[in-house]
Amino acid sequence: MLSRDWRAGELHVLTLALVIAVGGMTTVGFFSDRVQLALSQESNQLLGADLLIISDHPLSAHYVDEATRVGLKISSVTKFHSMISNGDDNMLADIKAVTAGYPLRGKLHLAINMAQILSPEKTQVADSIPERGVVWVDEKLMIRLGLKQGDMVDIGATQLTVAALIMREPDYSVGFMAVHPRVLINAADLPATGLIQQGSRIKYHLMLAGEVDAIEKYREWVLPQLLHGQQLEGIRDARPEIKSALERAEKFLSLAALASVVLAAAAIALAVRRFTQRHLDGCAVMRSMGARQSTLLSLYLYYFIAMGIMASILGCLFGFGAQEFLTYWLSGLVEAGLPWPSWLPAIHGMLVGMVLLLGFALPPLLNLRSVPALRVLRRDIGLPNAQSLSAYALGTIVLSLLFLWKANDVRLGFYIISGFIAAVMIFGLFGFFLVKLLSGMRHQTGGAWRYGLASIQRRSISSLVQTIALGLGIMALLVLSLIRDDLVREWQGSLPPDVPNQFLVNIQADQLLLLEDFFNQYNIEQPPVFPMVRGRLIQINDKVISAETFSNPHAEQLVRREFNMSWANDLPHDNKIVAGEWWENEDTDKAVISIEEGVAKTLGIRLGDQLHYDVAGSTLTATVTSMRKVDWDTFQVNFFVVTPPRLLENYPVSYITSFHMQPSQNHIMHELVRTFPNFLVIDVAIVIEQVQAMIAQVSKAIEFVFLFTLLAGFAVLYAAIVSTQDERIYEAAIFRTLGAKKKQLTRAWAAEFAILGGLAGIFAAAGASILGFVIGHYALNLDYTFNPWIWLTGFLTGVIGVTIAGLIGTRSTLSTPPLLTLRKVS
């Protein structure tokens, strides 16, 4: 029976819908799986590893043993400050003593010929760590100490030879504020320096890299093992802007996958509807010949399960192929090469395919077995309409469950489900009245429009189902494109090409004018300068605190470090007050403080708390009167703690500024360092570059995945058009018999499709406006911009898309000789 119906073209639509559904799902699944892996690996380059254990004390060997056991690569880094001297010149530097393998992720770029440092092309990737007895230094140290290749420098008790210049370190961003020149040595030279002694401030890093699963396993194993003074860091912990970009990208990708599921469901519902209608006669005949309901049911069940498995496998293969192509296409972007995807998406795809098929096919099939045998005599007896509509209830429930499962985010899933269910109901209601209203109008129209409207009315239930399905499809696409635009715009907006990439710290008050002159001299726009006072938090209300007070390592770190405090009259433009109030000018005498909400949360600080800071030996006390939300993604200068100007005025103050500098302006930076030797220059150009590259990739990935949702949209379109194909073929035959030209017939159909598409488009625009806002605002934390064009876009997409697709879909209908069709019908 399966093969017979296949030949008769019965299953094409359903199979196609399933293949596209499963294919789309698995493509998105495979792809986002892989891209997420790739992106996190890519971003891990900023860490130099997939995972990092940072400790105040030497790490015990069992950390290494376990890492080796689960198959991770390791490298250890010992970090400390020390004076480095070249003759009489000396300077404090950050020294990293590394073991073989460093860096585990990303690449270390060196200039072997130190004379050519000003041309970045002359760099090469280090293929090992420094040999014993050798030191690699950064540009800052080279300039300050006037180093040349082959010079000997003193580090502690030992002497090392300068062999290369570090141009770019992958783990640059770890310890963002590490402002000293950086030096790399071989860990084997460490004992000879004599610098590793009790009491010296040393950080021990264990770098780990390997398969995602192994890393996760290790992370789970090590977390409970961590001792006081030890912390675990993945890239997400280290760089907030990457974390939020990745999280949003992941949400968007799963959103896109979900959208393709909805579209697939719509396509399947349409296809099954057609299938059952085609089988009404067969069932009636079998019933009249005495077939039992259970016989009919099992017949169709086998049939569908067999087909579901077939189509799902096909879909998985399709998904895998598409994803391979995508990988190939993106591979230029991802330096590391994409990791192999996991099998999970395939299994998910199969499951989703079967669940969707059965969810939407089973109920109509169950109905099919109750076809009255009387239909043999009176063909117009079909299924009660209410029954066929209620059949979608199970499908909807199944779809909802799928959503909650696949969304990975209960809230997001919930919004989408309720959004779609509400949309279906509202579309249905409005559609019903609109179809009635429009059909009433047909006597006022003529020609093509009359036939279009007549067809819509005659197929009113079909028309309604088609409109809803198409409306949902267009809505999903509109929502996705709205959100995608917002997402990409926001990313690009947060890191514009001129985002500050140089920070100057430790500017003294009397240098401010000189710095202004310096900038003028080089025609650089004056960047905003912020005052900065450093203080250590020592008491919250009555409670004296120290690092040991907190169990949260992040809080510990915050307390151990000095806070950078600043003053301001006005709220910085990229800050938002989330609690309390910013001071008015007349308040400026009061001892009040505005604190960043994240820090407040970590340290358990609430509005109204009294904070005591140790600022240069004296105590500063102030009350928290507001909390600010700070957008850390933007690389602007921002402070955890801000006070009114008067409060900090009399404490030792230095200034900080940030500005953008092209790589070609490197010489200006050299000049700046020479002119103001006390400045600390923090160069984040590399970090920004990497973040920008990542965002570009994510944007591109999102575009591509969106393309697949589009494909699923076409499946719906196709299913919708094919669902009335039989009637159309018949219509065509009669029209042609009565002397209709192709053009006349085409016009009548175009009118019908345009009306359906227009309705669907308007519904979609309405739904997308609301759903887009809800998802953007509540699930992705985007500043959603309402887009009035969406109405026009939706309407035109509906009219043009459906009409064109409809006419293409029905073209073959026109070329069948009428006699053949009429013979089949009678």
């Binding site: 036939y451 007549a454 042609r736 002397g739 000789p817 006699l819 053949l820 009429l822 019908v825 009678s826």
Partner: protein, 242 residues
């Protein structure tokens, strides 16, 4: 040369129709030659499966023959493209089917108006109303086919067929799906309208009584015309004279 005064409305030249059904080639019609003059009423008779419907379809250009030609009102219809053929059909032909073939989306009057509108005729509605009154359905104008009985549907179909005032009416077992009383009424109606409009009629039937009412009978058997020798002679002679 003897000039035939009457221009034949339909001329069929050695039609053969073959279809591919999977592996085997099936010849449904072969060696069909036929001339129908204006004003004639011709009955095509033959057993079920003898190829009557296929032939009728070919006469109307609803299907394409494997070989041979059909001249409709002097035009070689298979030299035209699909569209021109449809237009010619709309102007010259009326069609009545065994299973009515009304468009379910349209009301009775809309069904009758359809061929007129396709020709771009203005007062389609008035003409259609008149015709439906003529076939006794003045009360059912706004009803859908579903709401009509078989006999009523066939009346609508007949009204539709006559709407464009065709030169030739093709009817394929118009009573085949009706009981005998209704069938007789329908046939009466058809012959009446045929007379009123001066239409040429080609009627497929296997009802001997109906076929006797036609001026000429053509018998099909296994896809070939079998007929009385004297009629064959006459036809050949006529064909040669043309």
């Amino acid at each position: 040369m003897v000039q035939n005064i009457k221009q034949p409305i339909l001329r069929v030249n050695s039609i053969r129709k073959q279809v591919n059904t999977g592996e085997i080639q099936l010849t449904i019609l072969q060696n069909i030659n036929l001339v129908v003059n204006a004003g004639e009423a011709v009955a095509i008779v033959g057993a079920s499966g003898s190829g009557k419907s296929t032939l009728l379809g070919l006469l109307a250009g609803l299907d394409i023959p494997t070989e041979g030609k059909v001249y409709l009102d002097g035009v070689d219809i298979f030299s035209l493209d699909e569209d021109d053929r449809a237009v010619l059909r709309g102007k010259v032909l009326g069609f009545v089917f065994q299973s009515f073939q009304l468009l379910p989306a349209l009301t009775a009057i809309e069904n009758v108006m359809l061929p007129l509108e396709l020709l771009g005729i203005r007062n389609a509605e008035a003409t259609s109303k008149q015709l439906l009154m003529r076939v006794g359905l003045e009360k059912r104008l706004k009803h859908y086919p579903k709401q009509l009985s078989g006999g009523e549907q066939q009346r609508v179909a007949i009204a539709r067929a006559f709407a464009t005032d065709p030169k030739l009416l093709l009817a394929d077992e118009p009573t085949g799906n009706l009981d005998s009383v209704t069938g007789t009424q329908i046939i009466e109606l058809m012959f009446e309208l045929n007379r009123e409009h001066g239409t040429t009629l080609v009627l497929v039937t296997h009802d001997e009584a109906i076929s006797k009412r036609c001026s000429r009978q053509i018998r099909l058997a296994s896809g070939q015309i079998v007929q009385a020798p004297e009629q064959a002679f006459l036809e050949r002679a006529q064909g040669a004279a043309n």
